[in-house]
């Protein structure tokens, strides 16, 4: 993904503005803090991280997502538009046969879901996916 961290944060805030969520400033600040706490301020690149999320959520209260990376020690998952963006941090031991995890998350509205992996070599990579939460109806 070409999305930079900075863009992701701006986009996340944009999505919040659109959906008219309260606390948009504090939410953005919180996700920034969460990322800073995870990376210690290190640069985040792209590479060995895959995030699978639906394009449109069937139910915003339980959205299945999947993260994987061949060389991740830890993967942080953030829902950038939620009042509390921190979703989960998955930690993998060196002997883990598969460094993948799946879970279901709750999304307050249309927003970016971001996965940041800390790789074994100490570098950080991220993937991002926009998940739309819609009121539905009217299929052709």
């Amino acid at each position: 993904m070409e999305l930079t961290r900075r863009n992701a944060i701006i986009l996340g805030a944009g999505a919040l503005l659109v959906s008219g969520m309260p606390m948009r400033r504090s939410a953005a600040a919180t996700s920034e803090e969460a990322i800073a706490a995870f990376t210690g301020g290190a640069e985040i690149g792209s590479g060995d991280i895959e995030l699978i999320a639906p394009e449109i959520a069937e139910n915003g209260n339980t959205v299945p997502i999947e993260v994987s990376s061949g060389s991740a020690a830890e993967i942080l998952v953030l829902a950038m538009g939620n009042p509390t963006p921190n979703v989960a941090t998955f930690r993998f031991g060196k002997l883990a046969a598969s460094r993948a995890a799946s879970t279901r998350i709750r999304l307050a509205g249309t927003q970016d879901v971001v996965a940041i992996a800390k790789l074994d070599d100490g570098s950080f990579v991220q993937a991002s996916s926009t998940v739309k939460v819609t009121i539905g109806g009217c299929g052709g």
Binding site: V18, I56, E58, P64, T110, G137, C138, G139, G140
Partner: protein, 567 residues
Amino acid sequence: MISRRDFLQTSMAAAALYGASGYGNWAKVAAQQALTQDQLLEFDTFGNVSLIHVTDIHAQLKPIYFREPSVNIGVGTNKGAVPHLTGAAFRKLYGIDDGSPSAYALTYDDFSALAQAYGRVGGMDRVATIINAIRAARPDALLLDGGDTWHGSYTCHHTQGQDMVNVMNALKPDAMTFHWEFTLGSDRVAEIVEGLPFAALGQNIFDAEWDEPAELFPPYKFFERGGVKVAVIGQAFPYMPIANPGWMFPEYSFGIRDERMQEMVDEVRAEGAELVVCLSHNGFDVDKQMAGRVTGIDVILSGHTHDALPEPVLVGETIIVASGSNGKFVSRVDLDVRDGRMMGFRHKLIPVFSDVIAPDAEVSAVIDEQRAPYLDKLTEVIGRTGEEQTLYRRGNFNGTWDDLICDALISEREADIALSPGVRWGPSILPDQDITREDIWNVTSMSYGQAYRTEMTGEFLQIVLEDVADNLFNPDPYYQQGGDMVRVGGLGYRIDVTKPQGDRITEMTLLKTGEAIEPAKTYQVAGWASVNEGTEGPQIWEVVEAHIAKQGTISLDPNSSVKVVGA
């Protein structure tokens, strides 16, 4: 040596020049004013595999009229690209003469006049004749049904899809995928699918609880045809629980799942598939995007968005075939598959001119059998169209059928504003024609047709319009659900299709007073086809029937309540 890619492109160009798609010949046919069954079916059998594609029949067993859209806006990279061309622009692209049979079949202009000349289209007994003719030339041709088959008529509703199952079984399809079928409810779908004599496919149909592939719907099936190992992978409509009531089939989850589509393509290739066909209900723009992301699919047979294209669209090394809706077209695709790869194709979109193509007697009898118990109800005349009044649905923003439905909702349900879903099914009615109960059901029937009446604030109405607009005009096709804009009665608005969600809709106006819609004010809104469980109200077909019966003759005022910008 010619590469596969070069060959495909050469073949594509040849198709355009030589008229292998059938449309070069059409102009001549028109000039001669001699449309015959032989000419419609004329096809120089090619290669070693034939595919027959029908899709989005919406339970139309009998011949109908069907007007194509005048407004079909493409956004993002699809702006101005097929299928987002209509009328003169469409005819120019494909070299179709004004007033010709193909102009009537594929574009909207002069619809009612051309309909008088060329007659009705569709009818599954005519489709049977076409299929039989193709099978006579290529006995092992694959017949593939793209879904939206068990929905859309009086008899389909009353038989819970059984009429369509019986007629389709007589046509002997090889595989099918799904959309509206699920609105029969998951129990009924399971009951039918378990007894189907052909494959029910969907690589993206998952068990909702465990997020694992649903056992009832295999992802693909292999066929040996013309000495070629063919894999057909199914792709059901990705957004079923969002566009339709998910509570009717809570056991299932869908989604595009293109990473799994790639896995399935890789899997069938590894097992020796020489030809990979995707039978899709994604919608055309989604299929185009998927073709650019998933490698190794030779042919996508595209459904859902009801587009009819006289030539396939080529994306990379994948051809995408769009075969219209409501039984109006059958696509034939002949393929030359050698040394494990597709070396070339020949394609024809065959329009089902009901007065030109003879009905197949056997299938006619099956159709009549389905209709017989309901014939009195079906044929009862409720009203009539005025001398200048065509009733049609297709178009991004409004159609006269939905104008009439919205009028019915406002007057019968005493509402300020009416909302009617932007579905793309439903045949047309010509001027000065009887409107029967069957005609009303053809544009309204569904398993969640309750006409609700509720209060909405101006703010919420705007949220609804913005939400639906983004399903149609999001520049990324993967965020589009197909369908058209929700139709409105009693309400005007301006839409800028180029803007992001939240900024597209402005100038909302209550038409009866001419006043601006106020965000905090409450309005009485009537609508139908709510995806929410427990919706109460009379069925929409009862509301529309009552309204038409009172009106007698239908003459609608032209609808100019939606201002479109940025198209």
